[in-house]
Symmetry: C2
Subunit: 126 residues, 2 copies
Amino acid sequence: MTLSDIEFPTPSEDADCRPVREILDRIADKWSLYIFVALKDGPVRFNALRRQIDGISQRMLTITLRQLERDGLISRTLFPTIPPRVDYELTAVGRSLLAPVMALVTWADSNRDVIEEARRQHDQTR
Amino acid sequence: MTLSDIEFPTPSEDADCRPVREILDRIADKWSLYIFVALKDGPVRFNALRRQIDGISQRMLTITLRQLERDGLISRTLFPTIPPRVDYELTAVGRSLLAPVMALVTWADSNRDVIEEARRQHDQTR
DNA sequence: CGGCATCCGAGGGGATACTG
DNA sequence: CAGTATCCCCTCGGATGCCG
C-alpha cells in the first residue's frame, strides 16, 4: 500500500491558509503543548503548573497562558483571597483541541525508541 | 502509556520524559508541521517544497529537512542527473505521524473562526 | 501567591553570494 | 537544481528584582 492510497480530509488551506498557520504556530510553540497536557484533567493553579512543566520559567508560563487565554482555549479564574489564588482551566474549545494534542503526545511517547535509534544510525553513518 | 511521565515528572533528573519532549519540540518547531503536510501525498522535490511552504527560506528548509531525515521521519533520494534531482518522502514512521499531524491541522482549519472571534472579544474587553 | 518590568545573552532565521 | 557558507539582525527566553 502506497502513501497515495491513504485519503486525508483536505482542509481548504490553499485559499486562506494564513489564519490556520497562525493557529498552528500558537499550538506548536515551545510551551503550549505542555500546558495543554498539564490542564487535561481539570483546573490547575499557577505555581502547580510551573512545577509540573519542567524547565518553564515564570515569564514564559505567564506569556503562554495569556496567549492561550486570548485565543479562548483556556480560562483564568481569580479567587480574591489572601494570598490570591488563580486557577487555569481548559475551555470547551480548548478541550476539543485536547484529543489531537494527546494523539501527538501519545505518538511521541510510543515512537521515541524508534527515533532515538534512527538518530544513532544516522550519526554513525555520516 | 506512560503519560504520567509528563504530568508528574520527578523533581530530580528525569531521564524518561525528556526524549518525549525532544520529539515534541522537533515536531512543534516552526516549519516541520508544514513540511509534513506538504509531503502527505507522496515525494516532493526540493524547490517544489520551497514553493509550497509559503515564507520558508532555503536555509531553513534545508536545516529542517536534515533534522527530520536524522529522526528517520523522511527519506532523501538523490537522482544523479544533470541537473540533479532530489526527492523527499515520508518514511513509514513519518507516515504514522501523519494522522496526528493532520488531526491538528484539521482542527485548526475548522476552529479558526472561533479563535479569531475569541481574540476580538479579548482585545475589546481589555 | 501570582504576577509584571527590565536587562541581556544565545541562537533562530533571513538575505545574499557562491558551488557541484 | 539543490544545496553550502557567511553575515547579521532581532526575537525568544532566562535571570533578577519589585509589587498587590
